[in-house]
């Protein structure tokens, strides 16, 4: 499993607000978890630029609610997932315009065909795949993060895999 902190080489800093001084905990949480969250957001949004932004906003939300958040890591991960979905909704048309502007500077070596196909999936299906096969979350864990039922995770995963299979064949 790729926890958000292990890639940064740190252990989770706190599980409940107030174990350390808020400021110290927050700063360490930010430094330790941000890289992993940005990678996750990159996979969810398909854009490293948006990913930075999404993670920044997730931390902003945590900063506002820090005292009432029992599990900051879980909160941040849920925020990143939700914000990434919103980015999809809001940026659909912006991306169209940007795509037309940036199409000529896409470097072939950067293109991962599988990821390109994943990026074409609806946000929910893409999110399910990333949570299941990047973070290796179980269906139940994925459902908790996404705020849906495990059955929805199962069906979304099946639909996403079927779509990819069709496109890869």
């Amino acid at each position: 499993m790729h926890s958000l902190t292990e890639q940064a080489g740190v252990r989770p800093l706190y599980t409940r607000a107030g174990e350390r001084s808020d400021a110290e905990s927050f700063d360490q949480l930010y430094r330790g978890c941000r890289p992993g969250l940005v990678r996750l957001a990159h996979l969810l949004t398909g854009s490293p630029t948006l990913a930075e932004d999404v993670v920044h906003d997730a931390f902003l939300g945590l900063a506002r609610k820090q005292r009432s958040v029992d599990e900051p890591l879980a909160y941040l991960r849920r925020s990143v997932v939700n914000l990434s979905t919103n980015v999809h909704r809001r940026a659909k048309r912006e991306r169209r315009h940007l795509a037309s502007l940036t199409e000529e500077v896409t470097h072939p070596t950067d293109i991962d065909e599988t990821f390109e196909l994943v990026k074409q999936l609806p946000p929910r299906q893409r999110t399910v795949l990333v949570l299941r096969f990047y973070l290796d979350l179980s269906e139940a864990e994925t459902a908790r993060v996404m705020g849906c039922r495990p059955g929805t995770v199962k069906s979304s995963t099946a639909r996403a895999l079927a779509k990819l299979k069709e496109q890869m064949s």
Partner: protein
Amino acid sequence: MTDDEIRARLRASFQATAARTTIGGSRLEELTVASGRRRVTPLVATMSAAAAVAAVVAVATVVAGAGTSGGGSVTAASGETLEPAAADCVPENYYVIASADQLQGLTYLLPEVPPGYHLYGAWGTISRNGCLDSATWYVEYDKSEYDRSGANNDGQAIQLSVTRVDARSPESAAIRGELGELGELGEPAMSGASTPSPAATASGASASGGPPSAPASQAPPIPGQQDVKAAVTWQPVTVAGHAGRFLGTKAGSGTLVWRDRGLVFQLNAPVLDNDSQSLVKVADSLVTVSPSDPRIVAPVNCKVPAGSVCGD
């Protein structure tokens, strides 16, 4: 290909993509803090990268509501502190369907659905940043041969957006900066016209617009996509008597941006040989309809009541 093989490819792809993700510099200083202190944050810090990209692309991609950060106070480029409009407002950003009242004056359509196209949707949204609202009206006509989901239309669709922002909003400030560039093309400059937009400043881009006599001006660079500036050029154009700009791409689509009475218009459509005038003709033909006009229909995946979030 089996499901197991697909899963294996997915894992490998995700790992590779994650591994090559560039992690930018810390923005910890920008965050309003850990212990509940409230800090007035400069606009350049609160504007999201998405907003910056949208704004810098300029003149082209004037999109209200792109910002995803918000809440609390923001400071405009002038240094003026902007407090939330109402104490009981929701300080989070959201993106909801606009009501008819909120769309007054924005509801532009083409006079008729162009041959070979169908109306994908015509709807308005409200975005909120720091408790200040902006409204954007969208119209999209898609090629008839494509499905009606809005997919597969990139470069082929005719898309119009009309944006009106709250006069006090940071987006308004950003757009004022951009419109200043348009002002240089012949219209009286708006307040702040001579200064780069905050978004452009935030991204490190310069907001030079080019003199009216210039046949084409370089588009501002897109953060992270610096090479693009060599691939695109802006042409000054006039739309219904208003200064605007045209951007054509090799893919055969064009973008036209202009302003009129405080509204910012953006029109995208296929064009042949970078023929800006063909797009100007389309722009000149726009008509307004009542917000209750039956032609105003939300896209199939966005049929929610005013005030609701448009889902997917």
